[in-house]
């Protein structure tokens, strides 16, 4: 009765040792291995991000080098040889003969660049303010969180439009295209920090009453040191989850703003700009100009979002 496999670890199957095995068997990786959704969405995300980064190597054309464009190639249908030049484009071309596949790859670069910097900005801002609000408390907490509350009552896209509108108003016309991307990043970041701040504040309120924080206070460590070295490492798990989900939202927010014409300029088109351009051709039958960028956006946002959902469940011990 004692030898019913009580002490035989199943992990023997994976013949790895040391750190690798510890990583392979950690709860997070185990949960990942068991979740097809997580594996597929990671795969899709990684492929999309890699193709975006390596766009100059992969893309058959540089869509923004006018010298390589041939107007005769305009409105090529996907997978069909062009009536004039006989060239074949996987996903067709737009009115100026630009290869849609290439524009998508380059557009994704812009989208990902804007989304990652925006999330990073929101994260730094939100985590800092959340830590301060939670740890210092009192009127500092009240002020920070009331600002957050007020901001939450507006749709974040409205705030982003507002910020980008104001920034445009203050920027001289000749610089507008240059700063457009940065305005976009700040606008999305500023509309998104509240989530980080709220969660970090909540976790900080729990952590700051734990005895390890009291121990640090007792030896006379400063507030800043305690927040940075003691509390911050312990609030990072939820931050990671929010960052992932925010990243998906930021991709969509960027696309929305660009679609509305307040985002990435046509000289540096993102997925949103491409969709906006494609909209004009939808009714005239050139469906592929809209459809393929839209599908890419869908795949990207959905897979990152699913990844975030899985991460939230996997890091939450109560759901395990």
């Amino acid at each position: 009765m004692a030898d019913t496999g009580l002490n035989t670890p199943i992990s023997k199957m994976t013949a790895k040792s040391g750190r690798g095995a510890a990583f392979w068997n950690s709860d997070l990786v185990y949960s990942f291995r068991r979740s097809p959704v997580a594996i597929i969405s990671t795969l899709v995300t990684v492929i999309l991000v890699l193709t975006a980064i390596l766009a100059p190597l992969i893309a058959p054309h540089n869509p923004f080098d006018p010298s390589t464009l041939n107007l005769m190639n305009g409105f090529s249908q996907p997978m069909q040889p062009n009536a004039f030049t006989g060239e074949t484009f996987w996903l067709g071309t737009d009115g100026q003969g630009r290869d849609i596949f290439s524009t998508i790859l380059y557009g994704m670069r812009i989208s990902l660049f804007v989304a990652s910097l925006a999330v990073l900005f929101a994260m730094v801002l939100g985590v800092t303010l959340g830590l301060i609000a939670g740890y210092v408390g009192g009127w500092v907490d009240t002020i920070i969180m009331r600002i957050a509350d007020v901001q939450l009552t507006f749709p974040s896209i409205l705030i982003a439009m507002l910020i980008s509108g104001i920034a445009r108003g203050f920027t001289p016309v000749q610089y507008r295209d240059e700063v457009a991307i940065w305005v976009l990043i700040i606008a999305i970041g500023l509309s998104d920090w509240v989530q980080f701040a709220r969660v970090v504040r909540g976790t900080t309120l729990i952590e700051k009453n734990k005895e390890y924080v009291q121990a640090a206070r007792m030896i006379g460590r400063s507030r800043g040191a305690i927040m940075l070295w003691h509390i911050l490492p312990n609030v990072l798990n939820p931050v990671l989850v929010i960052a992932t989900i925010s990243f998906a939202l930021a991709i969509i927010a960027e696309a929305t703003l660009s679609f509305l014409g307040v985002g990435a300029p046509p000289t540096e088109p993102s997925l949103g700009t491409l969709i906006n351009t494609g909209r004009d051709f939808l009714l005239s039958g050139e469906w592929w100009i809209l459809l393929f960028p839209a599908l890419t956006l869908l795949a990207l946002a959905l897979s990152v979002n699913l990844l975030g959902d899985w991460l939230r469940d996997a890091l939450n011990p109560r759901l395990r």
Binding site: Q214, A215, R217, M218
Partner: protein, 321 residues
């Protein structure tokens, strides 16, 4: 022997009022909770002084005021020559602080889960920018763990081992006094014995002074050289363990001793104590224990007894003799 810490007329009042807006709308007065009220005692060097009491007795609040986690509302804590509340000389405060360390109740919450054991133990010294080379390893061996444990994280240890790590951290800044707030109440009996033995050994080895805060009379009896019994934030009796357990003089101490379960009390039928601890926001008038006291007289309702010397003990009861 000289007193290492001197606590005089220590009082702590917490504001437990509802938020301002609720108070105005519901026309509520401000509410105050007196957690510690006029407590005075001395802890002699190289002795163990124990504070016992049930929940709400203010024992942990006193501990926090002594280590400087909470400022007193009134009264003084003097460590050596330094009064932490009024001293302005930063160097003196820093010196006094490094002479006090604390061990907490919950060994799971008192170690930062993201830090390696080495960093945890070294922190009190490293925070002052001093050399910590080999310190954690040496201390780990001193508390009965091994030097290799310095590279592990807290979750790799059991409750008893974590409490050893807490003790190592407390020792790192070479303190004179360690405030122990229920250090073994989260541990199993067999592990509790290990930790208590370790603490006794370290006390002899390093010439430490302990302020031992506990609700467990048996642990206190074993560890303490002097015991202070608290009730509702007030010190009701102070005596050496022999005196206190053989001849308790305050009716509350008597009740507490009678109620504690005993290993040889098979099928013991005791008249259980009457009533419960009163609300500390509205404590009874006079002696706080008078509503539950079997021998209370009218004077107890009107006048709060001052603590006075009776035999070898100090007792705060009008009737004790």
């Amino acid at each position: 022997m000289s007193a290492l810490i001197s606590v005089s007329e220590l009082t702590r009042i917490f504001d437990v009022s509802k938020p301002w807006l609720n108070r105005v709308l519901e026309r509520l007065p401000k509410r105050f909770l007196t957690a510690v009220s006029d407590v005075s005692f001395d802890v002699d060097e190289k002795t163990t002084y124990a504070l016992v009491g049930e929940s709400g007795s203010g024992k942990s609040t006193i501990g926090k005021m002594i280590v400087g986690l909470l400022p007193p509302s009134d009264g003084h804590v003097t460590i050596g020559e330094v009064d932490l509340a009024i001293e302005r000389d930063k160097q003196k405060i820093d010196q006094a602080r490094r002479e006090i360390q604390m061990i907490f109740q919950d060994p799971y919450a008192s170690l930062n889960p993201r830090w390696k054991v080495r960093a945890i133990i070294n922190e009190p010294v490293a925070a002052r920018g001093e050399d910590t080379n080999g310190l954690a390893e040496r201390l780990l061996e001193q508390v009965g763990l091994s030097a290799e444990d310095a590279d592990k994280y807290p979750h790799e240890f059991s409750g008893g081992q974590r409490q050893r790590i807490c003790i190592a951290r407390a020792l790192s800044s070479e303190p004179k006094l360690i405030v122990c707030d229920e250090p073994t109440s989260a541990l199993d009996v067999s592990v509790q014995a290990q930790v208590l033995n370790l603490m006794s050994d370290l006390k002899d080895e390093f010439g430490l002074t302990y302020l031992f805060i506990s609700h467990d009379l048996t642990v206190v009896q074993h560890m303490a050289d002097k015991i202070g019994v608290l009730y509702l934030g007030r010190l009701v009796e102070e005596a050496a363990p022999g005196d206190l357990f053989e001849n308790p003089r305050h009716p509350y101490t008597q009740m507490l001793l009678a109620a504690a379960p005993k290993m040889d009390g098979f099928g013991r039928e005791v008249e259980p104590p009457k009533g419960e601890i009163p609300d500390p926001i509205n404590p009874p008038s006079g002696c706080a224990f008078h509503p539950r006291c079997p021998i209370a007289v009218d004077r107890c309702k009107a006048e709060r007894p001052k603590i006075r010397q009776v035999g070898g003990s100090r007792v705060a009861c009008h009737l004790a003799e």
